[in-house]
């Protein structure tokens, strides 16, 4: 396995201060501290080539955990190995086998074209000319970078810049990739492109990828396996489909009529939405097909759709549970 985490804890001491200038002045000489436990007893393993989605509300401990995996934060207790290395020892060999992309922070040099950052990284990672040319060619093709390479970074759009960020992070061919909100702020089309790239790249190179995201679309498209963290605790680790079945043991039946019959739907399922011409019902999984058939038989149905509940709904439920 590539990543092994056992009984990981991280607590921060934060300075607490009441509002108001008197309090501000007081805090100059007397500070109150409070200990915040950001990560509590988290354990998991990730195998080579897996893409794992790391989910949780803001402040749940996702980024803190990821930073510990990347060697940027020292765990309060517990053990981590990534590719056989202890991240916090920050050995150059470790740094060469991993990479970190943070959606909200850029590593590209702002005023000059991305190609210059790539060249700086080439020197830093000690990549030889041939390997560099090959990798760059491949990434240019996959991410469609050709028209961007010689434009100053500051003139690129957010989406174009994110593509370049990914390239900059992958030039040294890391075996482990940490992506922290890689699609944040991107438009739907670009999100899709970035996702497709991640899937293709993972398949091609068997890169192990751990990704945090707010967008369920990212997770649904990329990850078979998800880990959900809430209040610093890992509350679910497993297949996405299992999670859906467990937390949302129903399907959504979207039924469209020429005219919605005015009646009580209780006999068929729970009404989730009712709109002009459309009724959405929640129906127990095993009854979904039968219910659909009965509806088709008894009413003038124009169209009917059976689908899984949206992931947002599932995840929101997961956050409400103590342990899944």
């Amino acid at each position: 396995m590539v990543i092994r985490v056992s009984h990981l804890h991280k607590s921060f001491r934060v300075h607490r201060r009441e509002a108001g200038w008197l309090e501000a002045a007081r805090s100059l000489w007397r500070r109150d501290y409070r200990v915040i436990e950001a990560v509590k007893d988290v354990s998991f393993t990730i195998e080579k080539g897996e893409i794992v989605g790391f989910l949780g509300p803001n402040g749940a401990g996702k980024t803190t955990t990821m930073k510990m995996l990347a060697g940027l934060l020292h765990p309060t207790s517990g053990e981590i190995t990534v590719g056989g290395f202890v991240p916090f020892e920050q050995k150059p060999e470790f740094k060469k086998m991993m990479s970190l992309v943070m959606g909200q922070k850029s590593q590209l040099i702002w005023d000059i074209p991305p190609m210059e950052t790539f060249l700086v990284n080439k020197a830093i990672y000690d990549i030889d000319d041939r390997a560099f040319r090959q990798t760059l060619e491949e990434l240019t093709e996959l991410l469609d970078l050709a028209p961007l390479l010689d434009k100053p970074t500051r003139s690129l759009s957010l989406g174009q810049r994110m593509r370049c960020e990914l390239a900059a992070a992958l030039l040294h061919r890391p075996q482990v990739l940490f992506l922290d909100e890689p699609t944040i702020g991107l438009d739907v089309h670009t999100q899709e492109n970035v996702r497709r790239f991640i899937v293709d790249y993972n398949r091609e190179h068997e890169t192990t990828i751990l990704l945090t995201s707010h967008y369920m679309g990212d997770v649904a498209a990329l990850c078979d396996r998800v880990m959900i963290i809430n209040y610093g605790r890992l509350i679910y680790d497993g297949e996405l489909s299992v999670l859906t079945e467990k937390l949302a043991p129903y399907k959504r039946l979207e039924v469209r009529f020429s005219r919605v019959p005015d009646m009580d739907w209780g006999e068929y399922g729970e009404v989730a939405e009712i709109e002009e011409g459309t009724v959405v019902l929640r129906v127990a999984r095993e009854k979904a097909a039968g219910t659909a058939a009965r509806l088709l038989e008894r009413f003038d149905v124009r169209d009917i759709n059976i689908e899984d509940p949206p992931l947002e709904e599932v995840i929101t439920r997961a956050f409400q549970e103590e342990r899944v």
Partner: protein, 264 residues
Amino acid sequence: MNMRRYGRVFREFFRACLVEEMEYRSEFFGNFIASFFGVGIALLTVHIFFYQTDRLGGWTYGEVLVLLGVFNTLRGFIDFALRPNMPRLLEHVRRGTLDYILTKPVDSMFYVSFRHLVFWRLIDVALGLGVIGYGLYVERYVPSAADVLMFFVVMTASLLLIYSLWMMLMTTSFWVVRIDDLSFIFDSFFDTARFPGSMYRGAVRFVITYVLPAVLITNTPALALLGKWSMAAVLAALAVAMLFLWASRRFWRFALRFYTGAGG
């Protein structure tokens, strides 16, 4: 640390900065003139001093010129490699992009101190060397091979000392993230190094000689080139430089441990 690899990385930093400067077509010419004027004014000041006297703290006119040349050269190096990096480190800490630097397989202290270079500041280095030559000419002194060798040794020690002091100041940005430019602290004490240390008296002299050895930094190389070196002084300069370098390295590591929450 693999020196050749770090040489390559440094060259790459230099190249990227060159491209960055070109992007704005920085006024190379304007800067050139400004540097020239700066040196001209400094020369004039020294000249005016010597209307009144023929010694300054025991140094002759030519000797003070050599000192001024050393000062200018060292300041050129500061402005070339150190000064541009100070505000960047503050920004990295404030915005969290320091994380990227810490994931790179190069020494982080090396990276934060040399990533940004303002190459046209090397003009000041060249002008400084010119003033040194002029001072020697005025003094009618031809340094021996040993003088020159010692000059280079103590000059290296001075550069290391400056680097260490600067680095320690820069490192405080982990805690003092709200002051945009801490370099004025450095400037105010380094400006004292323009003149012979023997000019100062009492507590001031003690502080700038031993505590923040600004005076040592410029005086020792100037004296070496003028043939007034002693092996003891040269070794002392090297030892002090090593000590400060070690201290600045320790301080940087301490700051990183603080940043990454590794206790301390």
